[in-house]
């Protein structure tokens, strides 16, 4: 079929052009980051010699050691707490009859679309009076709350998709709700839990506005927020700036490449943060 071969060629062309334009900015900063510090870099230009000194300079100037530590502490805690809370709530909403359960779930659903801009202003003043600004715990709790609607929605869907007979059989053996969750359902929930964990990790890692406001002390900020701050002080030194950007990208890139299957399937199941 001639038309079909034409279509096939056209579709590959679109895919390849799309892939190249997606990769181009990454190539551009990798090349720039390898130029000598303070060099006048132009466009896509392969450096004469590989120069890794920018990474060292960026690392010390922006204190990435401390920033990355904050990022890890916050992201990992947020993942553990919010996955645990979302699992308990999703389990109850999916398998039990709960007074006003529909209303509660509806309240979570509205949260899927609320922007950070709606809540940051009073959060700053309210948390400050509880000494929760410039404090990991403050950011952690707010991020858990922000991702909770999605987490609850995700885990409820998961538990609803489990065969009803599984739960009924356990009930016949007079298993408690807790035993049903921990001994029957959770051992089968691995893939859903890990997809959720990967998504929440990335959202937490990439959160900017919230951290800029709740962490006024630059030394306690996360890597992306620190980068946003750093960029305004080093606008002219492109190679160091690009190196700093790569340092911040690298951890998420690693997580993504290791878990890309989980991540992509999570995103494609309508699991995109609203």
């Amino acid at each position: 079929m001639k038309s079909s071969r034409l279509e096939s060629a056209a579709s590959y062309l679109v895919l390849v052009v799309g892939a190249l334009s997606t990769l181009l900015p990454f190539v551009s900063i990798v090349l720039a980051s390898l130029q000598p510090s303070n060099a006048l870099v132009s466009g896509l230009h392969v450096p004469h010699s590989l120069n890794f000194d920018n990474f060292r300079q960026a690392w010390t100037a922006a204190t990435f050691g401390a920033l990355l530590k904050s990022s890890v502490v916050i992201s990992v805690t947020v993942v553990l707490l919010s996955v645990a809370m979302a699992t308990l709530a999703g389990y109850a909403l999916a398998t039990m009859r709960i007074p006003a359960g529909g209303l509660l779930f509806g309240m979570f659903l509205v949260g899927l679309t609320l922007p950070v801009e709606l809540i940051v202003i009073p959060l700053y003043f309210d948390l400050r009076s509880f000494h929760l600004t410039d404090n990991y715990l403050g950011v952690i709790l707010v991020e858990c709350a922000l991702f909770m609607p999605f987490g609850v929605f995700w885990m409820r869907n998961h538990f609803q998709s489990m065969p009803r007979e599984l739960i009924e059989a356990a009930e016949m053996d007079s298993a408690s709700p807790r035993a049903i969750l921990f001994r029957v359902l959770l051992p089968l929930a691995g893939p859903s839990l890990s997809s959720l964990a990967v998504l929440i990790f990335l959202w937490s890692w990439n959160q900017l506005l919230l951290v800029l406001i709740l962490m006024q002390d630059p030394s306690k900020r996360t890597a992306p927020a620190g980068l946003g701050f750093f960029v305004n002080q080093n606008t002219s030194n492109i190679p160091v700036l690009c190196a700093a950007t790569l340092i911040v990208m690298l951890p998420v890139l690693v997580v993504y490449l290791v878990f890309q299957r989980k991540f992509i399937s999570g995103m494609l199941q309508g699991g995109i943060r609203g």
């Binding site: 679309t113 922007p115 801009e117 709606l118 987490g151 609850v152 992306p224 927020a225």
Partner: protein, 317 residues
Amino acid sequence: MSLDFIQTRRPASATSPLADARRRRQRADPRGRRKWTGLLYIAPAFLVYVLFVVLPGLHTVYLSMFNWDGITPATWAGLGNYRAVVSDPLLRGAIEHALVLIVFFAVLPITLGLLLAALLARHRRRGMTFFRVIFFLPQIVPLVAVGITWRWMYTEDGAVNQILRFFGLARTTRAWLGDFHLALLAVGLIGTWTLAGLCMMLFLSGVQKIDPALYEAARIDGAGTVREFWAVTLPGLLSEIRVALTVTIIAALASFDIVYVSTNGAPGNQTTVPGLLVYRLAFTDERIGLAAALGVVLTGLILVVVAAISVGIRSEA
């Protein structure tokens, strides 16, 4: 843990006649007693959500009705801040810019995604993993990093101008983010780059779920690629389109990160967006009531759009 408490209570109370009756009822309806247990399971998630999202949201609505600098006592403003959001050119401009960004964050990526879906509809390919991994890259890196990268791409000496020169378009080159008329377009295209891959992959995975028999039937009826797209592919992708529209339009209206690092609203106020002004008004200009009102208007806008999408596109209903 409170859950242990429920467990241990059962044997202890089994001796009382009341508990006997309760147990009998429980046997009749095994889920009866669980009603209240269920609330305990929901409680941690719900409390955190209410304390750190719902109440602050309501608090913002309250603050929006005052003039407050964050230090001295606030004074009642009624709806004055909302009038300012509509009439002040700076704030109205930010909302207009956000609406323009919808073209770049939502319309363009979805069009590109549908184009690809149309081309690949009949060809169920294996070996898409490679493309998938690449197309999702812009979704996972921090938007701050995306903004900085593009700031460099758009400079006088950046890759964008280099490519334009390569294609003989040297006369169009400029410092894109500094251009008074084109900066917003340049920022918008960063959004297109970020979201196009997501839409493409979302629609490609949706196309795989369309019954191949529908394509067979369309082909037997002599439908070409174009008619096949309108008759089979597009109706089959409605739920994916709804998801994509919701996600991308929210990304456009509530954008902050990309704008904050790429232009910070400049040149002039040509690329300000509501998120940027909420931050600036509240934490630099100390006009907290006005910032709160803008946050409320932004949220209202998002809720209206989301509702319109879910009413407008009713798939498989």
